[in-house]
């Protein structure tokens, strides 16, 4: 069962089937479940978790400082009122999109290559949404009053939130997204939790998995309703996932700020989110399949398809940049023109050109099958794209704000160490949750791989 790395042409590499050389349901189950059920704790995993948790500690410190002193610890000012907080919110939410896309949209389109990547991509979604959630929660001046944004009649004040504000839409969109993602993830997990329950040797572990498996016994009636519910969830998630980044884009597009008030933003943000999301899935999938020997499940076919989706969405994003530039000129509006000029040649021009390099130039390498069949290069490109997508939000959010309408409103923005530490801290939170996840839950959906194997057997 050892993965054989022989010299193959790129086309051969990419022609790998979606399921490698695993033969029986038992083998499939064992390969995936044993990662979780083993008693051994690998040293590498422990080291990685420790690093991640120390970064998480950094987040704790950053949040405490923020809470104690106020938003003033950040580099914001009266011209640029949003900086790292909202950049990272959008960045993390965007990363989350790939998970839902893989699990819902590819299901609707009957793409069998979703099967072995959906679970950890969904987990990634949840953790990314959790990271994203930290920013809007703590970026407010008085975070202890955040619940005023919810649909509760203000206790004893008789006040309601303003439903015209995109931030209230965000509250609904993000919380719905998080809830539905958790449901989708959990529903997908239940049959696998039952498998773990039945395979675990330790009595307590059996009980814990058993509790969460809810007594799932795989009956035909269960499966019947399960499939209906799963399909409905997928159908609902598809518009939902589009809506989330659309609503995020409304935070900017519905305002009047030059560079924000752009009608192409919704689809362009959605494409960017998928772009960033697949970049992160690749960043995670490429090391994972080697570390845990999952090359039979996450094959080069998967990697290749994800790279292609990155290419397609990346092109749409570039289309967005292009239209922004075109309308910057075509509008004939002096503020739009000034903004475009400022982006291209202003004090923050480096970020724009770096963005074009990361998101516009580098992903074009993906046209080549040779590049798509080389995991190391792909890993590099995926990371460049992650940086690029971060830069995109930097260019849109603070850089637009540094030069708005009146010359007196011109300003600047530099992050302080508090913003940086919170950013790295949130990466720590993400990694901590992810490392715990791969140790505690099956990172590949076992029952769906069995089902896929069943259909593959039928074909031959």
């Amino acid at each position: 069962m050892q993965y054989q790395e022989t010299r193959r042409t790129p086309a051969e590499v990419l022609a790998e089937p979606v399921l490698g050389s695993v033969q029986t349901y038992e083998q499939i189950t064992d390969r995936i479940a044993s990662i979780v059920l083993t008693d051994k704790i690998q040293l590498g995993w422990l080291v990685a978790l420790t690093i991640a948790m120390s970064m998480l500690g950094m987040m704790g410190v950053s949040l405490l400082g923020l809470f104690y002193w106020g938003v003033g610890v950040w580099g914001l000012n009266n011209r640029v009122d949003w900086g790292f907080d909202i950049i990272n919110l959008v960045w993390w939410i965007g990363i989350g999109h790939a998970g839902t896309l893989i699990s819902a949209i590819l299901l609707i389109f009957r793409q069998e290559w979703r099967t072995s990547i959906n679970r950890f991509a969904e987990a990634m979604t949840l953790f990314a949404v959790a990271c994203a959630g930290i920013y809007p929660t703590f970026h407010t001046g008085r975070p202890w009053l955040d619940w005023w944004l919810g649909p509760v009649p203000g206790v004893s004040t008789g006040m309601w939130p303003n439903f015209r504000s995109p931030l209230v839409w965000d509250v609904f969109a993000i919380s719905t997204y998080a809830s539905v993602s958790i449901l989708f993830w959990y529903v997908g997990l239940v049959p696998d939790l039952a498998t773990l329950r039945d395979r675990a040797k330790n009595k307590y572990i059996k009980v814990i998995y058993g509790l969460f498996a809810l007594g799932w016994r795989g009956s035909a009636m269960h499966w019947k309703r399960y499939n209906t519910a799963y399909t409905i969830l997928a159908g609902l998630s598809m518009p939902l996932v589009f809506s989330v980044h659309t609503v995020i884009s409304f935070d900017f597009a519905t305002s009047q700020v030059p560079g924000w008030h752009v009608t192409i933003f919704p689809p362009y943000f959605v494409a960017g989110a998928v772009f960033a999301g697949f970049a992160m899935v690749l960043t995670l999938a490429i090391p994972l399949r080697h570390v845990y020997g999952l090359q039979d499940f996450i094959t080069m076919r998967h990697i290749n398809n994800m790279a292609k989706i990155m290419l397609a969405t990346g092109i749409f994003v570039v289309y967005g940049y292009f239209l922004e530039l075109f309308f910057g000129w075509y509008s004939g509006n002096e503020y739009e023109m000034a903004l475009t000029y400022n982006r291209l040649f202003g004090p923050y021009a480096w970020s724009f050109w770096a963005l074009i390099f990361c998101n516009g130039v580098v992903p074009q390498l993906l046209w080549s099958t040779r590049v798509r069949s080389n995991e190391v290069v792909l890993f590099g490109i995926a990371n460049v794209v992650s940086v690029g997508m971060w830069l995109e939000r930097f260019v849109i959010i603070p850089v637009s704000l540094t030069r708005t309408f009146l010359p007196a409103s011109w300003g600047w923005y530099f992050p302080t160490r508090w913003e940086l530490s919170l950013f790295f801290g949130s990466i720590g939170l993400f990694l901590t949750m992810f490392f715990l996840f791969i140790r505690v839950l099956p990172m590949i959906s076992i029952f769906e791989v069995r089902e896929l194997a069943h259909h593959k057997m039928h074909e031959h």
Binding site: I108, T231, F250, P266, L323, G332
Partner: protein, 406 residues
Amino acid sequence: MAQNEAALRAMLNRLQIISLGVGVIGLGACAVGFTMNSAQFFQSYLMGLMLWVQVSVGCMFILMAHHLAGGKWGGAIQRLLESAIMVFPVLGLLFIPILMGLPVLYEWARPEVRAVDHLIQHKALYLNVPFFAGRAIAFFLFWSVLAYFFNKYSLELDKTGDQEVKNRMKNISGPGLLFFGLSVTFASFDWMMSLEPHWFSSIYGFMFATGASIAAFAFLIIMVNFLLKYEPFASVIEVRQINDYANFLFGAIMTWGYVQLCQGLIIWSGNVAEFTTWYITRISNGWQYIFMFLALFQFFVPFSLLLIWPLKRNIRLVTAVAVLVFIVRVVDLFFLIAPAEVFHHEGLYFHWLDVVACIGVGGIWMAAFSFVLNRKSSFMPLNDKIQLAQEQGHHGAHNRAATHSY
């Protein structure tokens, strides 16, 4: 029960003659209209032309998506798609009258307006007659060339069965989608958005493409319903494909609603005078009824109908929805074009030319379409059979989606 291929060919022949007749009469009526009210003629003719450009544009998108993604749904209608895009040269010829009427349609083409309007002076670098005409020619040329090669390679694949040809079509489709999308975007800016040269919306191109995909899917469903009486369509197209087409139409309608909502909400919330004017003319003086009609019949009604999954497996009902949607496409284009200030309609204003132009251009379009389709040696991509068979093997795979699609 289904009639054989020969009957289909005979029918297409008849269709070609009848549509040609309709087209000639329609365009003749348009010419009469031109002598009566030339401004109205150009407005209506633009609308009629845009409707059928959208059908062809949508078919081009679908064809390239099919080459990229594969699947039986595309194979079964591949010939229809190929024929629909081969109409581009004809559409290019039909575009010539528009070039004649530029100053009537577009304020920026009037020297006296340009002399006083600073914004138009600024945009003159892009919006000027030679460049506009050059772009239009380039677009139609590019689209026709693309269409030609897709037809040529497809024929080659039929003859030789060389998978290399198949890969070639796939390889063209990737960058093809990119450049085609870009050209459609700018075509929509040129031909429709610049009717109101002071206004702009960067989602306009995407909106046009969405409209095009609705028009194309609606057209294809109507055609499929029609062709199901004949072989080989009767034996190839199953309920599953009908369901697929209905889902695609559903998706296109959802995307249309999404784009409309996004643009509307952004402009409504931003409330910047520069952008709101476009909506203000369209929600006052009777135009608001068109607005509501569109919201109802281009979105809510077909959306709700297509939500009912048993309906999507009934070709008659799906066709009924498609007919409705296709008719409302005309209204949508009317809504985009007619309220433009350049036409000086005080309020909601219909003209018989609006209908006649759609039918006239449509006649010519259908004649060209059926001509190309009838010249195909086979109505199914021959050497894609392997793929079609494979798809059937997948039948069981991921039945969750297949049985209960939403």
